[in-house]
Amino acid sequence: MARAVVCTIYLALATTISLAYANDDDALLSLLDALNTRSFDDKAASARSIAKTEHPRRIAVLTALLEGQLYVRKKTDTVVLATRKDRGYLLFDILNDLEIGEDSRRSVKKITVNNKLRRLLRSLIAGLQLDNPDPMARLAAVEAMSASLDTDTISVLIQHDEAEQDTDVKQAIARIRTIYDLQADDPETRFAAVRAAGHDISSEVRTRLLKISESPEETPEIKAAAERSLKRIQQTLDRYAVIETLFFGLSLGSILVLAAIGLSITFGVMGVINMAHGELMMLGAYTTYVIQLMLPDALGYSLLIAIPSAFVVSGLVGIAIERGIIRFLYGRPLETLLATFGVSLVLQQAVRSIFSPLNRSVASPEWMSGSLEIVQGLSITYSRLYIFIFTLIVFAALWLVMQRTRLGLEVRAVTQNRAMAKAMGINTTRVDILTFGLGAGIAGVAGVALSQLTNVGPNLGQGYIVDSFMVVVFGGVGNLWGTLVAGLSLGLVNKILEPMAGAVVAKILVLVFIILFIQKRPRGLFPQKGRAAEN
């Protein structure tokens, strides 16, 4: 019984729906017939009417018209969809996209469109797509509508604005309204728009404001408002520039920290400067390159694989350097410096012989390219953002190793007083090997990060030894926090000075600053406490 009722209701519903559709179909077909005219104005009128129907095919029809796929079949005098096939046309029914036969070229006539009509069609289609559930599509639709602004599109937008939830789309609509109102005939509207325009930093708004502020026909009141708005926009832009500089500074600083932190540990523990540190970074970068060559299909994964691989490769080379050379030179830091410099030359030339002296470019995976737009006019590149985050992760990991593991404890003990640590039963040889391996491995990891910013070449590491040593000296030897603070602040200072003095002078100033800084605090920002540090 119940089933019968349901069936009846369902039947009744189906009938009404199909009836309604039938009605709509008729309306759409009659409007389509109206397109079959020579006057573009009439075509525009019927296109508007099509857009106002609720028919599910209206977007398809308008798109077909825009793309020149609507034809009149002469035999039946009806409008059809057609695509070229061989010498003739393949015809489809407009309402359901079913094939209805073929025809020769002569027996169909294209419904032509001109540029004005095209603009109208685009904006109509965009208006219809405003109902799309995807906010990105809605945003694109709004942008498309701004190409042909008239009272109709604006009213559609205003109407849509009330229902809109997405802030990006709302902003875009607000901008279009401002731009439209800036051209309004009514001075009151213009005045209001000029005042509101100060919130918008897009270049379209700025050019219009500039035009208004320079136009001789405007009232002084509006002109003054325009200038105020321009000033406000400029202030916003300046603020963004400052934020951007800060970000660039932090980004450079994070590279410095990555480069210096390994050096800082080895210097702290063993009192030797590893001049091959930059070359160990270079090895890390080349590891990334090689892994990418081996896994050309998995770009995103290859980078993740490269991080541990570079750590291992550079770490092993570092241990080899320690076992092969440095252990013979303990207590003679200057000789160590020279010997490791020799190693750096050999590594450079080896890479040059194996991989060619030319730079290799390492591709960035998709999730690292592009940039993140925080607000309009302020965006930061993903690669730099990720490298900054990566630096913090590496730093945290290293900090945990130093503070929470047995090795870290021993490393700190040896840093403070080697002889005493040895007397307490710490195997300093083992600590030396592991510290050097750790420092070298971190250099390799830094190389992976670096490969995402610059090309990979044999000279990649050369420039970093002075910079990273400066960071170590500035922060205080063997002090992780000091390295972090020093690296980030040197990066910031460099980038802040750059626009004022130029890149080279900025670099020179930083070097001079550090030389002078050492005068005041020879042991860096965070010196080690106690008598052991002075020898």
Partner: protein, 361 residues
């Protein structure tokens, strides 16, 4: 008396001085008097090359003075060499006069090229030879004095000082690469015509420059020898071996260090000034940290703390470099790298140390 103090048991020094004496007499004769087809003829190219080596030897001795005797490993001595060279180069630039490509009587070519309308103030006076020579001594000396005073007074020592000197030469390189500095940017100063009225390309000028270099090297050696054998030299060696103890005894360690560092820089500057007219160019690449550190290799290979060993090392390593970069360019950096490792790990006192071991068993 002085001779005995200087040369007692110093056979290496005798060899050096005698070789220089022989060269100063034989090379001019073999170059100018012996006809070109004679197998004993020494070509002008060789003369210039040897002159270059002599300048490097002088530079090496200047480094040995601070590193070998005072324990200050300077990785920026190339900067003093280059500064002396630039002072000389500026004099030579002013001597070109209207013979430059643009024929401007007032400005050097690169300034015309960069659309400068007048000579920068720091170029004034370089028309005079004596003024240029004064600055050859003053500029490196002053830089070393200021740098040394700042560094040694706050007791910056060891690797800190080494890296600081490297940073210094690195900063200078960056600065001199800038066109706005007024020193010819990355092209540097070149296309010199004559020195003190004599044509730089002529054989006689080259020979004179060679002989001057030989004398300068001999004088440098003797002067450094006087210093290191004097009481002052004993203090300096004491500072190398135990800085704190020397200070506790009552010596003002930093004064000695600043003094020896400045003197060494002046010597390096003079070497640079002799070097530039012979090679005919000075550019910012002379400031490269690599150059300075290569210089350390010369001294280490020859044997530090002996003065003549540094000269020997400079000539040997540079001879090897000239040969290898021509014959097997890829191998040179391997060899240089291996040299660094070898002299630090296995041959602490370089070639001289090897000889001494052989003599004393």
């Amino acid at each position: 008396m002085l001779t005995r103090r200087l040369m007692n048991h110093e056979w290496g020094g005798w060899v050096l001085l005698c070789t220089l004496g022989v060269l100063a007499i034989a090379v001019p004769v073999l170059n100018l008097a012996v006809p070109q087809d004679n197998p004993f003829h020494v070509s002008t190219y060789t003369v210039t090359l040897m002159g270059k080596y002599l300048c490097f030897a002088m530079l090496a001795i200047s480094l040995d003075l601070v590193w070998g005797y005072c324990g200050i490993l300077s990785l920026g001595h190339g900067a003093f060499f280059a500064l002396g060279g630039y002072a000389m180069g500026m004099y030579l630039m002013r001597q070109i006069g209207t013979r430059g490509v643009y024929g401007n009587p007032e400005l050097p070519d690169f300034m015309v090229f960069l659309n400068w309308d007048q000579l920068p103030w720091f170029w004034y006076g370089f028309d005079h030879f004596w003024f240029a020579m004064l600055l050859v001594v003053l500029v490196p000396g002053l830089l070393a004095f200021v740098f040394g005073w700042l560094a040694f007074r706050s007791r910056v020592t060891g690797v800190y000082l080494s890296i600081m000197t490297q940073a210094m030469t690195y900063a200078l390189m960056l600065a001199f690469f800038r066109n706005e500095m007024g020193f010819g940017g990355n092209n540097g100063l070149t296309d010199f015509k004559d020195i003190l009225g004599a044509d730089l390309q002529s054989d006689v000028t080259r020979i004179v420059l060679f002989v001057t270099s030989a004398f300068a090297l001999a004088a440098t050696y003797l002067m450094c020898r006087v210093i290191v054998t004097s009481k002052l030299g004993r203090v300096i060696t004491a500072i190398r071996d135990a800085e704190d103890r020397t200070r506790f005894i009552g010596y003002r360690v930093e004064y000695y260090k600043v003094w020896i560092f400045t003197l060494s820089a002046v010597l390096a500057g003079i070497a640079g000034a002799l070097y530039v007219p012979q090679v005919g160019i000075i550019n910012p690449s002379e400031f490269q940290p690599l150059n300075s550190i290569e210089l350390v290799a010369w001294v280490a290979v020859g044997g530090r703390g002996t003065l003549y060993g540094a000269a020997l090392g400079a000539v040997l390593v540079n001879f090897g470099k000239t040969y290898l970069t021509g014959a097997l360019p890829e191998v040179w950096l391997f060899v240089l790298g291996a040299l660094f490792i070898l002299v630090t790990v296995a041959m602490r006192n370089g070639i001289v140390g090897l000889f001494r071991k052989l003599r004393h068993g």
